[in-house]
């Protein structure tokens, strides 16, 4: 379970995150939505222990992120926006490297690695160097290394970005599977269909604050929009921006 309470983070004069609070429950897929620059990435970076908040708190499974970031990092698996891979290493080696850094015992690592390779459809590529991989293939490798330590909480930034139809469906199946296993899944996305299809709960962030938090239906109801995309535009003030432009 992930909890964020009145989180604030400022860069110079810019208030990137300004009192964000939300909760992502176990066995649920929570979507973090927001336009570019809304504060999603900063929130996720605080949540994963890479940034410390100016005020407020974030916790994972009841443990405070600021107190023990390493304990948090072994309980979460993160597919960040940055998906840089080592071009001379193979997918198997990427998974092994991260698994070992997470302290996964060698025997477990072998089983876990092969499971991930199979479930992500990486069999053919598993022993090829990642240089020259397509965007989608790189995403799968990045996801596999993020899940190698079997984390209870999973944070995914734009997981289907750049994936083809088959891979997108496989990714959705994987997210469904994570939910079915009772894990806490938090993901950010721009693709509305995906959010409405996958998420049990949606948190909409704009200009560093939470502007809506609830089930897709309750958000549609609240905004009076039949379509989630229209609701999103109405909530984040994109409409005004467009009008001004």
């Amino acid at each position: 379970m992930i909890e964020v309470e009145r989180l604030c983070k400022q860069f110079g004069s810019v208030r990137a995150v300004d009192g964000v609070s939300f909760r992502a429950d176990d066995g649920c897929v929570t979507g973090l939505l927001g336009p570019n620059g809304a504060g999603k990435t900063t929130t996720l970076r605080v949540l994963t222990g890479l940034m410390s908040p100016d005020a407020g708190a974030a916790s994972v499974d009841g443990r405070d992120v600021a107190t023990d970031p390493f304990a948090i990092q072994s309980r979460i698996g993160v597919l960040p926006d940055s998906r840089g891979l080592y071009s001379r290493l193979t997918p198997r080696e990427h998974i092994d490297y991260f698994g070992r850094l997470q302290g996964v015992p060698e025997a477990t690592l072998r089983t876990r690695r092969e499971e991930l390779i199979a479930s992500l459809g990486l069999m053919e590529l598993a022993d090829r160097r990642v240089a020259g991989f397509s965007h989608g293939e790189r995403t799968k490798v990045a996801l596999a290394r993020a899940l190698v330590h079997d984390p209870h909480n999973v944070i995914l930034a734009e997981p289907t970005h750049g994936l083809d139809v088959a891979s997108t469906r496989a990714m959705r199946a994987l997210i469904d599977g994570l939910r079915a296993q009772g894990r806490c899944v938090l993901f950010s996305s721009h693709v509305m269909q995906e959010v409405s299809a996958l998420c049990d709960r949606i948190v909409v962030i704009a200009k560093g604050t939470v502007v809506a938090d609830g089930t897709p239906d309750s958000i549609r109801e609240k905004t009076g929009c039949g379509d989630l995309e229209d609701a999103f535009v109405a909530l984040t003030g994109l409409e005004n921006r467009e009008a001004r432009a």
Binding site: G49, L50, S74, P80, D81, G84, L89, Y97, A146
Partner: protein, 395 residues
């Protein structure tokens, strides 16, 4: 839940991954291996060719108007290593064009003035701007002076005067330098060569430690693992050090083979230190690799981009080169604290050791400590910096 591995184990995991990664970089592996092997060979070839050219060879001396001074020409021709040949029709043009180094011209009045016991003129056409012509001219000058002195002595004797009367002083030059100092700078070259490999063998790996990860967008995913920053930086650093030391050993062994298999003694060049001294120097340079890769890793942590890092390296490297040059030029090796200065300490120690001296034990300790301690401090500082958001997400 998995047990978090200790820092030492994490450092080992990072080290292994970095080595695997970099050993697969064929281009830089081949490039640096070639550099380590070819640098000593190219340096040896250039040194030997230069030495060969400096060796006195047979002087081919074109003489114009040989019939006007047959005695002089016969005497010259009879000298060992001198070969008198007829000069071309226009000797001045040949020297100017560089086809001939020098031409000795015996003028029409030579025979008459010699017969009259006067100081007879001989002309030497030279090209003052060419070093080969200068060297030939020096030899001809000596030869003509020798012939003149002989002729002068005969004239004095024919008049009943002892020739010694005209040379009241005789200067005997004796070279007192020990043979080890007559190495033609071999000790300097070998030291500089090995230092070079110690500096550059691990730079690419060390520079990748933070900057490369950041530019590849792999730093954030990496730091999402519960890994101690010290283990991370130290693992990468030691991988860079290992590669640098590997290339250094290759260069050291190649240098040893080159020094022992080529005919240096023929040209009066000889490295008098033993094979052991040479290998000692190779090992002496290990701390240089430790220090330099640590410095590069530190700079790569604070730099925003490759260009910025390269600017820093340029400045640091210039400082090192100038200090090293000043040390060698002003013979500052005896200043004790300089021994502790990284790079400079190793360079002077190596030059002295290969020069056949027996440096004091404190210098070995000071050079090693003077490099290893700042290296450890730099790595610790880089690890601390890596905990800062402004460094991790710097762009």
């Amino acid at each position: 839940m998995n047990a978090k591995p200790g820092s030492l184990r994490q450092g080992w995991i990072v080290f292994r991954k970095e080595l695997t990664d970099w050993l697969r970089d064929r281009a830089s592996m081949i490039g640096l291996s070639l550099q380590a092997i070819s640098s000593p060979i190219i340096w040896a070839a250039i040194t030997l060719i230069a030495a060969h050219r400096m060796m006195p060879s047979d002087l081919v001396l074109p003489v114009a108007g040989a019939d006007r001074g047959p005695a002089l020409v016969d005497w010259l021709d009879a000298q060992p290593d001198v070969d008198v040949v007829p000069a071309p029709a226009d000797p001045a043009a040949a020297v100017r064009a560089g086809t001939l180094d020098v031409v000795l011209v015996i003028p029409a009045e030579f025979a008459e003035q010699t017969a009259d016991g006067l100081s007879a003129p001989v002309e030497l056409l030279v090209d003052g701007s060419a070093s080969a012509s200068q060297r030939a001219a020096d030899r001809v000058r000596g030869l003509v002076a020798g012939y003149g002195a002989g002729l002068g002595s005969l004239r004095l004797m024919s008049r009943g005067v002892a020739p010694d009367l005209t040379s009241p002083l005789r200067l005997d030059v004796k070279d007192m330098s020990p043979p080890e100092r007559r190495q033609g700078g071999l000790n300097y070259f070998v030291s500089a060569l090995l230092l070079w490999m110690a500096l550059f063998g691990g730079v690419a790996v060390a520079a990748d430690s933070t900057l490369g990860e950041r530019e590849r967008a792999s730093l954030e995913p990496l730091l999402l693992n519960p890994v101690s920053r010290t283990a991370l930086i130290a693992g990468k650093w030691l991988a860079a050090v290992s590669l640098a030391c590997f290339y250094l050993v290759v260069a050291g062994l190649t240098t040893l083979v080159v020094l022992r298999s080529l005919p240096w003694h023929k040209y009066g060049l000889q490295l008098l230190s033993s094979d052991r001294d040479l290998l000692t120097v190779t090992v002496l340079m290990f701390p240089v690799a430790l220090f330099w890769t640590a410095l590069v890793a530190f700079v790569s942590t604070i730099a925003r981009s490759q260009q910025q890092a390269q600017t820093y390296f340029g400045l640091i490297f210039m400082g090192v080169v100038l200090t090293a040059m000043a040390t060698l030029l002003f013979q500052l090796a005896s200043v004790p604290w300089l021994a502790a200065l990284p790079i400079v300490g190793q360079l002077t120690l190596s030059v002295d050791l290969l020069g056949g001296e027996h440096p004091a034990a404190y210098r070995y300790i000071a050079t090693a400590a003077g490099s290893v301690l700042p290296a450890v401090v730099l790595i610790a500082a880089a690890a601390r910096l890596l905990r800062r958001e402004s460094i991790v997400f710097r762009s």
